[in-house]
């Protein structure tokens, strides 16, 4: 079986601006590929190129073994796409929207009826059949959009920020749905900027200023040498007065980085400095603090890689403090 998606040097320019720069990646069937990046980094542009909506300026890609430029018509029948903004007909009912998409994909009458009932069951929107799409809340709208893009049984789904702007419960339920579908062999390409969602993906790519910085499984990313240098450890410190503790930590020369994380501090320090750290904090008046070693979180990974990228972009050699 060919990989679900292969991109080679995919680039898209708008005038002088490069929205996606030289992106190469490979996604296997059955993956849930989470594509992360800040706003404006080029996620939507990349999806549009993969769906055949936008021609690449250079580079090429295949989706389900089909070329995105030459065979875009066949690709359209094989994939599902849920765009960033809600783009169903608000003045049509849930059922009418589904019927419309079933017809657009040319499903025969009996198969259309069966598939519509199937997807209604999958997303659980049965109670809202007769409601106009505009009457639905954010979470239900996303479910309807998902249902519409599933009606023709695609093997590969592109979801562009499907959970943006919906409440946490709806968010979690939508993800559970994606896992169910992935269990049935559907491949997902999902963009998001929620870290917790990224942690749930089988594979992750991180795009920053149009460049794909890393791609791999969450574990692979956490073990990257750039993220935790060989002579450094990641520590979690619970201390009172977090803000001043952070300032104090940053003034120690063996501390490479200290940031506040919820109710604790995440510190990147030289190896074998835990006891020294406790002593120094006690001297500064923070009392007896707890220090434990932790693996990097995905957020640590992205923050570190982003900083490294920024300093590289600025053309300076990365100073130790920046790591």
């Amino acid at each position: 079986m060919p990989p679900a998606i292969v991109a080679r040097g995919l680039t898209r320019r708008f005038g002088h601006f490069t929205a996606v720069n030289d992106v190469s990646l490979q996604i296997e069937e059955g993956d849930i590929y989470g594509f992360l990046g800040p706003n404006g980094s080029g996620k939507t542009t990349l999806i549009r190129m993969l769906c055949g909506l936008l021609r690449p300026s250079s580079g090429s890609a295949t989706v389900m073994g089909l070329d995105t430029v030459k065979e875009s018509e066949q690709i359209k029948r094989a994939i599902g796409y849920m765009s960033q903004q809600f783009s169903l007909y608000r003045d049509l009912t849930v059922l009418e929207n589904l019927k419309f998409y079933a017809r657009i994909y040319g499903l025969r009458r009996s198969r259309a009826r069966r598939r519509i009932e199937d997807v209604i069951g999958i997303v659980g929107i049965g109670d809202y059949r007769g409601h106009l799409a505009r009457e639905l809340s954010g979470g239900w709208r996303q479910r309807l959009a998902l249902a519409c893009s599933l009606v023709h049984e695609p093997r590969l789904m592109f979801l562009d920020e499907p959970t943006a702007g919906i409440d946490p419960v709806a968010r979690r339920e939508l993800w559970n749905l994606l896992f169910d579908l992935a269990g049935q062999g559907v491949t997902f390409f999902v963009t998001t900027h929620y870290m917790d969602e990224a942690e749930r993906c089988s594979h992750i790519g991180y795009i920053y200023f149009s460049n794909l910085i890393v791609s791999g499984t969450p574990n692979e990313l956490k073990q990257l040498p750039e993220v935790t240098p060989r002579e450094a450890v990641r520590l979690e410190i619970r201390a009172p007065r977090l803000a001043s503790a952070m300032r104090a930590l940053n003034s120690f020369d063996y501390v490479l980085d200290a940031t506040i994380f919820a109710d604790s501090l995440h510190v990147l320090a030289q190896t074998n400095t835990e006891e020294r750290l406790q002593r120094d904090l006690a001297r500064e008046g923070f009392g007896e603090v707890q220090v434990i070693r932790i693996p990097p979180s995905l957020e640590d990974v992205f923050v570190t890689l982003t900083r490294k990228r920024d300093t590289d972009r600025a053309g300076t050699t990365a100073p130790a403090e920046a790591l």
């Binding site: 909506l53 796409y81 809600f86 007909y89 608000r90």
Partner: protein, 370 residues
């Protein structure tokens, strides 16, 4: 090639019935426009308010005044008693025409001498001024002629013109305006509806969603046009009925011919709507672009102003406007009872323009999507 057309038509009709306000406005607006234009736009000027300052007052002078009143073009609203009062009644706007008859009017006529009657005209309203001047001239000429004939012992002036107006015998403005209005209203409604229906999908992002489905460009385009062609046909029937039954304008020619030629025009205006949708990114822009197309249609199509008097360049421009030909067709069939052989050249040019518009916008439509 037409993949997805059925689905698009199905959906488009749902949009139409779900939006009864638009549906209602589509029938109401032409109704209102037709009524306003039909009843209010009267290019003939009658009963011009006139002030008469008669310094003579004897029967001969009153005969002249009567001739003015009997023409029905003038209505005496004031009889000032001084020159200043006469002028001021015009300045105030009370009267638009002032007639001043000198004290020696009768005397000079009886002596066979020339007499000067002064006519003051308010030129600020040029239509009224022109008409008033023409009619007053004609009246004076008639009066003079009858006096001259009497002195030559003839009962009648030697030449008598007996005009017979072939079509629209009462020369009612309504009969002239309303058929043109039918064309204008058709263009306005079908063009705007089509343009909005497509631009709305651009705005809400549903067009992008459609582009990742297997719907074909052509299927999508026709699927969008066909429902609005139906609406346009209903609209045309409605407006023609209003014309016939509210304004009593009879259709002299063949109804089938009118229907057939209307269909050509309908596809031209749908094409224009499509063209607007390829230029505009949102509904506000669509409105503006549509306005740019509508304005010359109103001014140059011969709807109000005769094309014969236009400067050369503008005349040529007016020959590119589809409504120009459709108005000729409408007036031809409705008023003159013209048949296919009288009008086919107009219809042929209209078809060529329509085809050009449709093909151009179809090609542009493809481009905007990719």
């Amino acid at each position: 090639m037409l993949w997805g057309i059925g689905a698009v038509i199905y959906k488009e009709f749902i949009h139409i019935v779900r939006d009864p306000i638009t549906l209602f406005l589509m029938l109401l607006i032409p109704g209102i426009q037709l009524t306003i234009f039909g009843f209010a736009i009267d290019l003939e000027v009658k009963h011009i308010p006139t002030a008469v300052y008669n310094l003579d007052g004897r029967p001969e002078s009153r005969q002249l005044v009567d001739a003015f009143v009997n023409s029905a073009y003038f209505k005496i609203v004031a009889t000032p008693l001084s020159n200043d009062a006469l002028v001021s009644s015009i300045v105030r706007g009370e009267a638009k025409i002032g007639l001043k008859i000198p004290p020696d009017y009768t005397d000079r006529l009886l002596l066979g001498q020339d007499v000067t009657v002064q006519l003051l005209i308010d030129g600020s309203d040029s239509t009224v001024a022109m008409q008033g001047l023409n009619v007053a001239n004609a009246i004076a000429l008639r009066q003079s002629l009858s006096i001259v004939s009497r002195s030559l012992n003839r009962e009648q002036p030697p030449i008598e013109l007996r005009p017979r107006v072939l079509f629209n015998p009462d020369m009612k403005t309504v009969n002239f305006m309303v058929p043109g209005l039918v064309g204008l209203v058709m263009q306005l409604v079908t063009m705007l509806l089509t343009a909005f229906a497509i631009v709305r999908e651009k705005e809400t992002g549903t067009l992008e969603q459609l582009m990742v489905t297997p719907v074909s460009r052509f299927g999508l385009m026709l699927g969008k046009l066909i429902p609005y062609a139906c609406i346009g046909a209903i609209e045309t029937t409605f407006v023609l009925s209003l014309m016939r039954f509210l304004f009593g304008v009879h259709i002299a020619g063949s109804l089938w011919l009118l229907a057939g030629f209307s269909l050509i025009f309908l596809f031209t205006t749908l094409g224009l709507g499509l063209l607007v949708s390829t230029i505009a990114e949102n509904q506000v822009q669509a409105m503006q672009v549509a306005f740019v197309i509508i304005l010359p249609s109103v001014l140059l199509s011969g709807f109000v102003f005769p094309q014969e008097n236009m400067p050369k360049v503008i005349y040529w421009a007016s020959q590119l406007i589809p409504l120009t030909y459709f108005i000729r067709i409408l007036r031809g069939i409705i008023m003159r009872g013209a048949g296919f052989y009288d009008l086919w050249p107009q219809a042929a040019i209209l078809a060529v323009i329509g085809l050009t518009v449709l093909v151009t916008s179809a090609l542009r439509f493809r481009k905007t999507l990719s």
